[in-house]
Symmetry: C2
Subunit: 76 residues, 2 copies
């Protein structure tokens, strides 16, 4: 089974990488870019029948830093 995990910084957490992208887009002449947030997406190929709880545990223990990041699991 394939699973996609989206990890984003939580609202209010400073995102210097996103900010750098915003600046760079402006420097390239793209106007009207008011905000950019950058996150990670992790595609996992898991054994069939891996439970949602196990996937949640993977996220909590390794994939996301839940102090500053939120995650969302999407089954493909």
């Amino acid at each position: 089974m394939k699973v996609r995990v989206h990890v984003m910084l939580k609202q209010g957490v400073l995102d210097p990488q996103g900010e750098a992208v915003r600046h760079a887009l402006g420097a390239l002449g793209f106007e009207g870019v008011s905000s950019v947030r950058q996150g990670k997406v992790i595609e996992l190929d898991l054994a069939d029948g891996t439970s949602e709880a196990t996937i949640g545990e993977m996220c909590e223990k390794l994939l996301a830093n839940t102090v500053i990041e939120s995650y969302r699991v999407e089954q493909l």
Copy 2:
């Protein structure tokens, strides 16, 4: 308007970051993880009416390295 851009390494391009995650999940005792690919997700807050062509240009020029990465634009 909000737009989400997904950037993933193309098939066949070595993904050391994903490989490191796969190893780490194994070391944490998670079994059956056969493959992991890691990519980026960029959420942009753009001026209303920004054309798809402009968004494509942003991706081609800055957000993705199209030699080794593919991208997908999702309107939110």
